[in-house]
């Protein structure tokens, strides 16, 4: 007698954080900025075991229908991944040979500016690229939609690719949080969200700017990744320890990023006070093992720093920590979550309107994150030793710029991602010089 067929999966509801990402995706689509994608790069020694990687791609595709599913809003206006309609298929895997020092960077830019992943159509939401970089060196480049998961999710998926794993006996699994949040009446949500709404009402007085240039058509997404070796990372760490202590990674690197963008804005608008509005993603579940593979699971902390507070690095790091403390003490994270829940039924094209209104056409000054250790525990991929790993997200304009950090085995990586038209060549040089001056000892 045949075993009964496993019960089909139902649609998987998007989280309230996904609503924020869908708002950005909608902005990008409406303004010719493509789709909100990210590349995750794992550089390896030796030669790739293509057979094992293809097996992993096949298994992942069959195990997780979300990798082929469409994301759409239902009659109740909530967004859901259509797992029940997804057709199981292997995750697409392509092989490439790249040459030249900028080969990998150009390749990543091509992927980020492409349209091959579309979350609103059925088909692959994640693609694998196996890239030969020369003899004895290759990279796994994973291209993924930011609506599919965040950096912690992709780290978990990488570990699964490396381990291959097995197909679950009960059939495909969702890999997501089935019921992200209990339903709450809008009035109750509004009461909880009110402190954040009040906070946003203070923003217009600050005249927050970003690198977005009004009236300039957004161009291609550009990226630069700086991989610091062990010695350079040790220097950066030593300066951080001296300036802000060994442990306050988040405020320290956020300050370095904020001061670099501030320097560019100040050069564009001499004589103006240049405040910086940081939009910092913070994971709701601190333990990566306890959170699902898919969906976005971060709260957003919006911290406003005045020009004076950012004038010097050491006091700036301290001031940013104080702002963070203030944000926590005023229970603004809970208020922000309630606001995101209130907005999740809102059509994505309207999602950012309140922020645009309060910030006079801006979203924040820059995107920034320090995602900590890159794929902790990932030491090899099917026989190839992992040498380094980092994330390269695309960004929209506004704000037109993102500065992201992560670390693999004592090597810090810094990714700069921006839109053509938002950062001229001399401004990019100023941005990088300011970052280097802050990161390295004098």
């Amino acid at each position: 007698m045949n075993a009964p067929a496993p019960a089909p999966l139902g649609p998987l509801r998007a989280t309230c954080s996904d609503g924020f990402l869908m708002g950005l995706e909608s902005l990008m689509r409406r303004t010719g900025q493509g789709h909100h994608l990210a590349c995750t790069v794992v550089e390896c020694a030796g030669e790739p075991d293509l057979a094992a990687l293809r097996r992993a791609a096949e298994l992942l595709g069959r195990k997780y229908p979300i990798l082929q599913a469409r994301l759409s809003r239902g009659g109740d206006w909530l967004a859901r991944w259509e797992l029940d309609r997804a057709v199981a298929a292997a995750v697409p895997l392509e092989t490439w040979n790249l040459e030249g020092p900028d080969g990998l960077r150009d390749f990543i830019e091509e992927r980020l500016n492409g349209r091959e992943i579309d979350i609103h159509r059925a088909g692959a939401n994640l693609r694998l690229h196996v890239v030969a970089l020369g003899p004895e060196r290759w990279a796994l480049v994973v291209l993924w939609s930011h609506s599919l998961h965040d950096a912690v999710g992709i780290d978990k998926l990488l570990r699964e690719i490396a381990a291959t794993g097995s197909f679950p006996e009960g059939g495909p699994v969702s890999g997501g949080l089935e019921e992200p949040l209990a339903g709450e009446p809008v009035q109750a949500l509004y009461r909880r969200a009110k402190p954040m709404i009040e906070e946003m009402r203070t923003f217009p007085a600050w005249r927050v700017r970003s690198l977005h240039r009004k009236g300039v058509r957004p161009g291609r997404n550009r990226v630069v990744v700086e991989n610091f070796d062990l010695a350079a990372t040790a220097e950066i760490r030593a300066k951080m320890a001296k300036t802000a202590g060994e442990l306050l990674l988040l405020p320290y690197f956020a300050c370095c990023a904020a001061r670099a963008v501030q320097a560019v804005i100040a050069a564009r608008h001499p004589g103006e006070e240049v405040p910086v509005l940081l939009s910092l993603p913070v994971q709701r579940q601190g333990d990566p093992d306890k959170r699902p593979l898919f969906q976005n699971h971060m709260a957003v902390y919006t911290l406003l720093m005045s020009g004076a507070e950012l004038a010097e690095l050491k006091p700036a790091a301290k001031a940013l920590f104080r702002k963070y403390a203030d944000f926590m003490r005023r229970k603004l994270p809970t208020a922000m979550d309630a606001l995101m829940q209130m907005m999740e039924r809102c059509p994505s094209r309207f999602y950012n309107l309140p922020v645009f209104f309060y910030l006079k056409g801006e979203l924040c000054t820059l995107f920034h994150s320090h995602t900590g250790s890159f794929a902790a525990g990932l030491e090899e991929i099917h026989g190839s030793r992992v040498l380094n790993g980092y994330h390269v997200p695309s960004v929209c304009t506004p704000p037109g710029i993102g500065i992201f950090f992560s670390e693999y085995a004592g090597q810090l990586s810094m990714t700069l991602s921006w839109r053509d038209g938002c950062l001229a060549a001399d401004e990019l040089a100023l941005l990088r010089a300011t970052l280097h001056r802050d990161l390295f000892p004098e």
Binding site: E246, L247, L248, P251, G286, D287, Y324, R329, G372
Partner: protein
């Protein structure tokens, strides 16, 4: 103070399945950058001590015992 700190870390900072004692290595138990920031705020609120950046080392925050020694030292007039 050690018991207060253990309670605080267990309830608000770390989602750790095993027991937490004064000698438990907190970084091994999952204390990360965000957890450190929450812990610093909690120490300020509970014990009225604001840490100096110079105090923020892995060594000083590796166990409850060491944190308690640090906080007690900062409380001393």
């Amino acid at each position: 103070m050690e018991q207060d700190l253990i309670e605080l870390i267990r309830s608000d900072i770390l989602d750790h399945a095993g027991p937490i004692t004064a000698e438990t290595d907190l970084f091994t138990a999952g204390l990360d950058s965000m957890g450190i920031m929450q812990l610093l705020l909690a120490i300020e609120d509970r014990f009225g001590v604001a840490m100096d950046p110079a105090d923020l080392s892995r060594e000083n925050f590796s166990t409850v015992e060491k944190i308690a020694t640090l906080v007690t030292g900062r409380q001393a007039p």
